[in-house]
């Protein structure tokens, strides 16, 4: 039995949105942002979720235990702008029950 989880996403205009994300659809955070249209089409998920464009960069505000960064995410973030210590690529964060209560903020478009 899979349940929706509640997460909080602050968009690029600083507006925070509480959304319910399904955990049974193999969705990642980037896809949740697109599904709820929290960033204009064409400004997020440009590469489709291959960790190859950094358009879904976000700052993780809650202290969730996130899966370790893979090499490609690490490499992409090292070429991205506005990167902070808590930067992650949304496309690499899967919506699982463990992500309940996750709080993130979208990084500026670049």
């Amino acid at each position: 039995m899979n349940q929706d989880i509640k997460i909080t996403i602050t968009d690029r205009d600083g507006v925070s949105h509480n959304v319910e994300a399904p955990t049974d659809m193999a969705m990642n955070l980037m896809e949740v942002v697109r599904a709820f249209e929290l960033a204009p089409e064409g400004t997020i998920g440009i590469c489709g979720g291959m960790a190859m464009c950094a358009s879904c960069q976000c700052y993780v505000l809650s202290d969730h235990d996130l899966p370790e960064k893979q090499d490609d995410e690490e490499a992409m973030l090292s070429e991205a702008f506005y990167v902070k210590d808590n930067s992650r690529l949304g496309c690499q964060i899967q919506m699982t029950p463990e992500m309940e209560g996750l709080e993130v903020e979208l990084a500026p478009e670049s």
Binding site: I46, C47, C53, S55, A75, E79, S110
Partner: protein, 355 residues
């Protein structure tokens, strides 16, 4: 020299998979195509962002690399001799009195056609510029985001920033051209083809490339031209590095750009089209196909772009040949007859008596 006007039947903006397949479908209808793309090579995202990644939903290809798909599409439409204006961005669209359109690029190249097909994906790829406050004032004055002519770096001191393939490849190339090449990256690790990484290592060992990692360029100095950059090595004091040229290579990001000012109906960064008929936009004669368009139920898939391109070509045929009757012909029956004189046809069945 007068202004040259490139004339064609269908002017395609965007040389990604959808644009390339349009050439084939148009060719079957004896319509010629010319493609404009801001990137220096055809393939769009497939060649620029993920050439080595597999795609699994191209019909009849259980798996194909994006770069190989581009090659196959080029091969498939080769006999229809498409023209290309590469490395130039379509800037303006002007409707003429005779109903045709003139599209001019940022470099001033002019193209004229009765039909324009926008297959621009997410837009034209623009370089991602690092967040250095005064960088814009040094563009064309020592700062470049593309390397067009490597010769201008001969015997100059060059600083390259970035950690991907283009940063590696250009560092290798310029090591033989420039008097000094410095490569700066935020990490010690680079993301690139293995042999590029190894080659940079070798050139670094031979002191032909000066490698500074993990570090970042944080400022640019110079009166009217780049004279130096400020480099911050993680955890250390900033220092000045003298250089004539600073080349940040942080990849490209697509922007809808000038298309947005052409009077097209735009919704969610995409061009609205009539999907019940022919993918025409609100400007008659201008179509939008592939990822760049939107309509109820739109899916941004390559295979949907192929379908849209095919239907669009039928509408283009009617515009170019008004009133002419057309019957669909199957390639298996009619073959493929190129503008280059080549023909492909299915072999005739063998009809022979068995004694």
């Amino acid at each position: 020299m007068g202004i040259i006007m490139i004339k064609t039947d269908i002017l395609i903006i965007g040389a990604g998979p959808t644009g390339l397949f349009t050439v084939f479908e148009a060719g079957l209808l004896k319509l010629r195509c010319h493609l404009i793309d801001a990137l220096p090579q055809p393939g769009g995202q497939c060649s620029e962002i993920y050439p080595k990644k597999p795609i699994y939903d191209i019909p009849a290809y259980p798996e194909i690399l994006a770069g190989d798909l581009t090659d196959k599409l080029l091969e498939q439409s080769k006999q229809f001799q498409p023209g290309f204006t590469l490395g130039e961005r379509a800037e303006t669209l002007e409707k003429q009195d005779d109903g045709s359109f003139i599209v001019t690029t940022n470099k001033g190249t002019k193209h004229q056609a009765p039909v324009v097909a926008i297959a621009g994906g997410l837009g034209s790829f623009e370089p991602r510029k690092p967040l250095i406050e005064n960088i814009a004032s040094y563009e064309e004055k020592g700062v470049a985001y593309f390397i067009k002519d490597p010769e201008i770096y001969r015997d100059k001191r060059v600083v390259i920033a970035g950690g991907g393939d283009s940063a590696l490849d250009w560092s290798i190339f310029l090591a033989d051209v420039a008097s000094e090449v410095t490569l700066i990256h935020r990490r010690n690790e680079f993301r690139g083809a293995l042999d590029s990484v190894e080659k940079v290592q070798e050139l670094k060992n031979k002191c032909k490339i000066n490698l500074i990692t993990p570090a970042e360029v944080t400022n640019i100095f110079g009166e009217d031209h780049v004279e130096g950059v400020e480099v911050v090595k993680t955890g250390e004091e900033p220092f000045r590095l003298d250089t004539n040229c600073f080349i940040p290579l942080f990849g490209l990001s697509p922007k809808l750009g000038p298309l947005a000012t052409w009077g097209l109906e735009i919704e969610k960064n995409a061009i609205k089209v009539n999907n019940s008929l022919d993918y025409q936009t609100n400007i008659p004669g201008v179509f939008a196909i592939g990822d760049v368009n939107t309509y109820p139920g739109k899916l941004k898939l390559i295979l949907c772009g192929f379908h849209e391109a095919t239907l669009m070509c039928q509408a283009a045929y009617q515009i170019i040949n008004p009133g002419k009757k057309y019957v669909l012909k199957y390639t298996t029956v009619s073959g493929v007859h190129g503008f280059d004189g080549t023909s492909k046809t299915a072999p005739k069945a063998v009809v022979k008596k068995i004694e």
